[in-house]
C-alpha cells in the first residue's frame, strides 16, 4: 500500500512539474512570434491576411474538395470524423502559414508519406488545385498572391501523385 501511495505521489509531482515546466516556454514563444517586426517587404503570409484569413481560405478549400463530385469521396472519411478533420485542417493551415512565411510550424508528415498508397492521379491533383483557386477567388485573394501560393504548393505534385 505504501508503495502504491509513493508511486501515485511521484506521478502527480512529475505531472505538475512537466506541465509547469513547459508553460514557461509558452510565454517566450508567443512574445517572439507576435512582437517581432517582419524585416523587409511584407511576406506572402502578411499579404494573405495572417492566420485568420488563411483559416477562412483553408476551410473553404477543404469544403470545396469534400463536396466536389470527382475528389470528394477521397475526403469524405476525413471530413466526417471531427478528430481526423482537426488534424488534417490544422496541418493544412500550418503548411500554408509556414510556407508563406508565417509564424506557424508544420508538424504533419511529409507529402510523400501523407499520400502514400492513395494512388492519386494528375487529374485529381489538378482538380484539387482548382478548388484551392476557387477558395482564394471566393475571398478575393489577388491574382499575384494566388500565383505565389501556387508556386509554393505545385512542386509538391511529384510527392503526391502516383504513390
Amino acid at each position: 500500500m505504501k508503495k502504491i501511495t509513493f508511486v501515485l505521489a511521484a506521478t502527480v509531482v512529475a505531472s505538475l512539474a512537466g506541465i509547469t515546466a513547459c508553460k514557461k516556454k509558452t510565454v517566450t514563444e508567443t512574445v517572439y512570434v507576435d512582437n517581432t517586426p517582419p524585416p523587409g517587404p511584407p511576406s506572402l503570409y502578411t499579404r494573405l491576411g495572417g492566420v485568420s484569413a488563411i483559416t477562412l481560405v483553408t476551410d473553404k478549400f477543404i469544403n470545396n474538395c469534400a463536396t466536389n463530385s470527382f475528389i470528394g469521396p477521397r475526403f469524405a472519411a476525413t471530413a466526417s470524423d471531427p478528430n481526423r478533420l482537426r488534424v488534417f485542417r490544422f496541418n493544412l493551415i500550418d503548411q500554408i502559414c509556414a510556407g508563406s512565411g508565417g509564424p506557424c510550424q508544420y508538424k504533419g508528415v511529409t507529402m510523400l508519406q501523407a499520400h502514400q498508397g492513395m494512388n492519386i492521379t494528375n487529374a485529381e491533383f489538378d482538380t484539387l488545385v482548382g478548388q484551392l483557386v476557387k477558395a482564394m477567388t471566393f475571398y478575393n485573394v489577388p491574382a499575384s498572391e494566388q500565383n505565389e501560393l501556387a508556386t509554393i504548393l505545385l512542386p509538391m505534385r511529384s510527392d503526391i501523385v502516383g504513390h
Binding site: 512537466g18 483559416t55 476551410d59 466526417s80 488534424v87 498508397g117
Partner: protein, 140 residues
C-alpha cells in the same frame, strides 16, 4: 480471502489512477501550436438542399457563411449537397440545421458524401487517441 480481494482492488485502483495520470501528462506535455492557440475547432456536415432554389449558388454560399458560427459553405449544384464547416463552440449541428431550414425556407436533411477507398491509410484508433488527447488537454 477478503484481504486478498481488498489488495487486488487497491492494485486495480492504483493502476487506473496511474494510467489516467499518464494520459493527462501526455495530453498536456506539448505546448499548443500557434494555430491551435488561436484557431477554434470545427466540424463538417453535409446536407441535401435539393428542395431549395439553386440559381445563384455563389450568393447562397455567402449567405450561409454569414450564419453565426459557420466558417464556410460549399454547394455542389450537381449533387445538390451543401457542405458546411462550423465552429463547435458557437453552433451545434441541430442549431445549424434549424438555421439552414429558416434561411432556405425549405427543409434540409443530412446527407453523407460517399467514401472512396484509398483515402488516408492511418487507422481510426490514432484519431481516437488524438481526440482523447485534445479532450484531456487543459493548456490554453
Amino acid at each position: 480471502m477478503k484481504k486478498s480481494l481488498l489488495k487486488i482492488g487497491k492494485v486495480l485502483l492504483g493502476t487506473t489512477c496511474i494510467l489516467f495520470l499518464s494520459l493527462l501528462l501526455w495530453a498536456n506535455w506539448n505546448e499548443r501550436t500557434y494555430t491551435e492557440k488561436i484557431v477554434g475547432d470545427t466540424r463538417f456536415m453535409s446536407y441535401d438542399i435539393s428542395a431549395a432554389p439553386l440559381d445563384d449558388v455563389s450568393s447562397l454560399e455567402k449567405k450561409i457563411s454569414l450564419i453565426k458560427g459557420v466558417s464556410s459553405c460549399s454547394i455542389n449544384t450537381g449533387t445538390k449537397i451543401a457542405g458546411i464547416i462550423f465552429y463547435t463552440d458557437m453552433l451545434s449541428s441541430d442549431q445549424l440545421q434549424e438555421s439552414l431550414t429558416t434561411l432556405l425556407q425549405h427543409p434540409v436533411t443530412e446527407k453523407a458524401i460517399p467514401v472512396k477507398s484509398g483515402g488516408c491509410p492511418v487507422g481510426g484508433i490514432t484519431y481516437f487517441m488524438l481526440g482523447l488527447k485534445e479532450a484531456l488537454c487543459f493548456r490554453s
